[in-house]
């Protein structure tokens, strides 16, 4: 017993799908599926036979004429293919169909206003009679240090001074983090010494005064977090730092950790 699949394979292999051998014709009379396959094969044959194809000889002659003709061989610009044959790029056609012309006008007006606005805000202003001094790079740590110095003079409580030293120490750490790769051993050591002074003396002195003033040790929480972050970061940086910077970064980490532990101890004793 031959299966339908085998029958259909044989049907598709026929040179003339309409000229079916006797053994297949018997099967086709009783099988709708195989009959349908035969019908599709016949249809396909018909379409293939009717495909317009130029004569290969004529095409060859035309090609040779084109190649040997004077002037450039490529005379037409390639265009993007269009499935609808209109010659327009599909997204453009889509936008034309969906966006109303008034919206295009509004968009154009918006672009115009935007461009004019940008130009107006950046227009060359009349030069002042006295030329302005070009601003060079400013040392952020120096400016902040002066601000902290002035702030300490005007602060009235140990808590205010504690916060200033906490911020100052963080800024010194940032400076060390920014320059440790290029700084000499002496330069990075000076930053470590600055950090140590700011934390071990400045911050801790004020913490003790805060406790004497019966301040709530919960106010240490922010500084403890910053110190813990500094200790971790400095320790991590020291692992991959240039040899000249490793000792200084470890010193910063140790100072931060020591101050953090001391503040934590004070806070615990006072029941924060």
């Amino acid at each position: 017993m031959i299966s339908c699949a085998a029958i259909q394979n044989r049907l598709l292999a026929l040179a003339e799908p309409m000229a079916v051998p006797q053994e297949l014709a018997v099967h086709l009379t009783g099988c709708a599926a195989c009959t349908a396959v035969q019908a599709r094969a016949i249809k396909l044959d018909f379409y293939l036979a009717n495909l317009p194809a130029p004569s290969s000889e004529a095409r060859k002659l035309q090609f040779l004429e084109d190649v040997s003709a004077e002037g450039p061989v490529i005379r037409t610009k390639p265009v993007l293919p269009s499935s609808h044959g209109s010659g327009q790029f599909r997204p453009v056609r889509f936008l034309q169909r969906t966006v109303p012309p008034k919206a295009w006008a509004s968009l154009a007006a918006g672009v115009l206003v935007f461009s004019v606005g940008v130009w107006w805000l950046n227009r060359p202003v009349e030069r002042p009679a006295v030329p302005e001094l070009a601003q060079g790079p400013r040392h952020e740590l120096l400016a902040k240090s002066v601000k902290y110095h002035v702030g300490l003079s005007n602060s009235r409580t140990a808590t205010q001074r504690f916060d200033i030293f906490s911020d100052w120490a963080a800024d010194v750490t940032n400076e060390a983090r920014d320059v440790y790769k290029v700084a000499s051993r002496e330069q990075i050591s000076k930053l470590a010494a600055m950090y140590e002074s700011t934390v071990a003396t400045g911050l801790m002195d004020q913490a003790k005064l805060m406790i004497e003033d019966a301040a709530n040790p919960a106010q240490f929480a922010g500084a403890i977090t910053k110190l813990a972050e500094t200790a971790t970061q400095a320790q991590e940086l020291s692992q991959a730092a240039p040899p000249d910077a490793q000792a200084a970064l470890k010193r910063i980490a140790a100072s931060a950790d020591k101050a953090r532990t001391a503040l934590r101890t004070i806070a615990d004793k006072k029941g924060a």
Partner: protein, 179 residues
């Protein structure tokens, strides 16, 4: 339709304002920061040492002594910048010096002058500090040149004005008491 168009125009104006308002932030390289650190290391050391002392006292005389110390260090940096013909650096330092003088040293020194009578044991020390402040800083605004490339800028002129105005707030030196 008009409302929609106006809204679109308004949105475009807000957008272009925000675009125009954006300025790239000047980010220094590590080498530039290191150069500034080297340049200012002495000032930073002075600021830390002095600030640790400032944090330990509320005495106006001690405070003004520390601020004077920082002010003098800054004034030396200012003179260095002038000598090296660096108007930009000079204006940076002048701005910092102004803050130390106007917001710290002068208020504290004026407070000391009000609260320390000639009979006080602190009076000689006060006189010394006050005299030093006058001698070394009264004419600091004039350190900034008024002519030359970069020095005739608005910013330098403003620094000069602000420094002069700050120092004019310093109490005059007490007249010597003739026995």
């Amino acid at each position: 339709m008009i409302a929609r168009t106006l809204l679109l125009l308004l949105a475009a104006m807000v957008l272009c304002w925000s675009v125009a308002a954006q300025r790239p932030a000047a980010k220094l390289t590590a080498a530039e920061r290191l150069r500034l650190l080297q340049l200012n290391q002495g000032l930073l050391d002075e600021l830390i040492d002095s600030s640790l002392k400032v944090a330990r006292t509320t005495n106006p005389l001690s405070l003004s002594e520390e601020h004077l110390s920082v002010g003098l260090q800054l004034s030396r940096s200012l003179e260095d910048a002038v000598n090296r013909n660096e108007p930009d650096r000079a204006s940076e330092v002048a701005g910092l010096l102004h803050d130390v003088l106007a917001k710290a040293m002068i208020p504290q020194l004026n407070e000391a002058s009000r609260t320390i009578p000639p009979s006080s044991p602190d009076y000689p020390r006060y006189l010394t500090i006050h005299r030093k402040a006058h001698e070394r800083l009264a004419g600091i605004a004039d350190t900034l040149p008024t002519t030359g490339a970069g020095w005739a800028s608005e910013r330098v002129a403003e620094c000069r004005t602000r420094l002069g105005a700050a120092m004019s707030q310093l109490a005059p030196l007490p007249t010597p008491v003739v026995p």
